[in-house]
Symmetry: C2
């Protein structure tokens, strides 16, 4: 499995966030059977962490219009994992400004979750730090996931990373929300995050998107530059262009430790039928938003129905016009 040229480092941990990121496509309406099949496949493959969704606010997001994995109520989690009597750790993500984290994150003793991942934009750093401290005090391992890092200026990024060093977050994740990060840029960012995180005993993680077909490559680059927490999703299932595919990552990262067969089994049984219902992947509209370093929402809109998708030239012209307007 390319183990000669692969990456071997016992500190590396793989985190499956298929349900959480893939849920952004289908309103987090995965069936219990789907989530359970993925949970069991991840355990059999040796995946280190599985993220089951968001704990987002049910006041802001209607439970009538969103599936259970948008909220990850403890009862729903236990339908899948019970008390999670396995070696695989579990996580949920909470979003700054979109979560009732004070009430919805229960004390660790009342939950099968191990890790809380705090997602925030740079202008939400104050709330994010409060969220990190709250989750840590409740007994969880905590991850700080600054989103859309490619839109943050160097000086602001440095100041946020410096502030994070003084929080109890154990890992800082490089989040390429727009899928626009290039290979040397990922190397640069990983080394920067590492320089802040490592001296205070924290780790660096990476969460890639595949707009430029670089999600797997960027994950490998990050892993070779000091990142030890690697996000991936089965078949790359994730919003827009999708993510780093787990079945690729585990074939090249600590390949002797993981077992690919259960992943291919889950791919065959669960992903093949799902692909008939929803789409994800580096379609040209997502390439174009990635090339312009903007949020994929315009591409998601353009591909929403069959009458508007695949009109690449008008979509390209629209983004070029917006770029020129922004430069004026």
């Amino acid at each position: 499995m390319n183990s000669v040229w692969g990456i071997n480092n016992p500190k590396l941990k793989a985190l499956d966030c298929t349900i959480r990121d893939g849920g952004l496509i289908n309103g987090h309406y995965f069936s219990v059977d789907f989530v359970r099949a993925l949970y069991q496949a991840n355990i059999a493959a040796g995946v280190d962490y599985m993220e089951l969704g968001y704990k987002n606010s049910s006041k802001m997001f209607s439970p009538d219009e969103n599936g259970p994995w948008k909220f990850c109520k403890e009862d729903d989690l236990r339908k899948i994992v019970g008390d999670n009597p396995t070696g695989m750790k579990l996580s949920c993500m909470i979003d700054a400004a979109k979560s009732d984290w004070k009430t919805d994150v229960l004390p660790k003793s009342q939950s099968p979750l191990d890790l809380i991942r705090v997602a925030f934009y740079h202008y939400q750093t104050d709330e994010a730090i409060a969220m990190i401290e709250d989750a840590y005090e409740k007994g969880y391992d905590v991850s700080a996931n600054l989103m859309a890092v490619t839109t943050v200026s160097e000086s602001i990024l440095d100041s946020i990373l410096e502030r994070l060093t003084r929080t109890p977050a154990s890992v800082f994740v490089i989040v390429d929300s727009f899928g626009s990060i290039t290979l040397p840029q990922m190397e640069y960012l990983t080394k920067k995050y590492f320089e802040f995180a490592n001296p205070v005993g924290k780790e660096v993680g990476v969460h890639a998107h595949n707009n430029l077909q670089l999600a797997f490559a960027n994950t490998l680059v990050a892993a070779s530059c000091g990142a030890t927490r690697l996000d991936a999703t089965l078949s790359g299932l994730g919003r827009g262009a999708g993510n780093c595919p787990m079945e690729l990552m585990l074939g090249m990262v600590n390949a002797d430790k993981y077992n690919l067969r259960p992943l291919y089994e889950c791919l065959e049984q669960q992903i093949v039928p799902l692909r008939r219902e929803i789409e994800w992947g580096p379609y040209p509209e997502f390439i174009i938003t990635g090339q312009h370093n903007v949020h994929p929402r315009a591409a998601i809109g353009a591909r929403k129905d069959k009458d508007t998708r695949d009109q690449y030239v008008s979509f390209y012209d629209q983004l070029e016009e917006e770029k020129r307007a922004a430069e004026m």
Copy 2:
């Protein structure tokens, strides 16, 4: 367009081989309209070279069962390019053991072609060198494309590269036929090819396949390590998992020099309808052959009809069994 983090080097040349490699999917039955649209899009985009197909033997391959771009007869070429009164150069590929190169490659004065690319396996090096010399003497620029480099031992590879330095080939192309090359391996190979090629005034090229979703990344790695001739195909159209997509490459390699809009136009008008007829891309079967460093033919066979495709587990088991048998 990420030009800050992109690769800028005036020596870099982009070669479109959509018709040649994509033709391996559809028996080289592209319509004149399709090839002409791509030719015009490439010119408008500023692509440096376009490969129109193979000049393969019409004694070995029946013209009744193969399209015109399998043979690239001069009359068929001229239907598309006339005398090619453009700045874009044209190439054809000839295959060792599959081409009547002595007769089918005409003197340069009788052809619009500029470049002949010689494809060969390591055990065909003697014929390949004769082919290189013949094409050079006829007046062409010549490229040496050793296929399936991942199956060649280091000492044999060194000896072939050393022999190629004494030929009139102006470029040696790293060919990842199985799509199994990893990023550090591509760096290693590029530096090796460069060490042979550069002192004798020759260039290095790269031809990637996308089994592990690394075709674009590997092309970028090669370009940053000294490769200056970069193969790509529109929408990655190529055998099996496909190739490095041109629309990605030109957004990050000399991005200010090229124009993406004509490529998106050709994608919209020509590739969208083609995708309804034939498939290519990193489907799991191609990932699995890439992970096992074997030719994609078994994957192509497995995906050939709807009754056998998407049975990933049995396909994975089959390749694992073959691997164990080969190791015994």
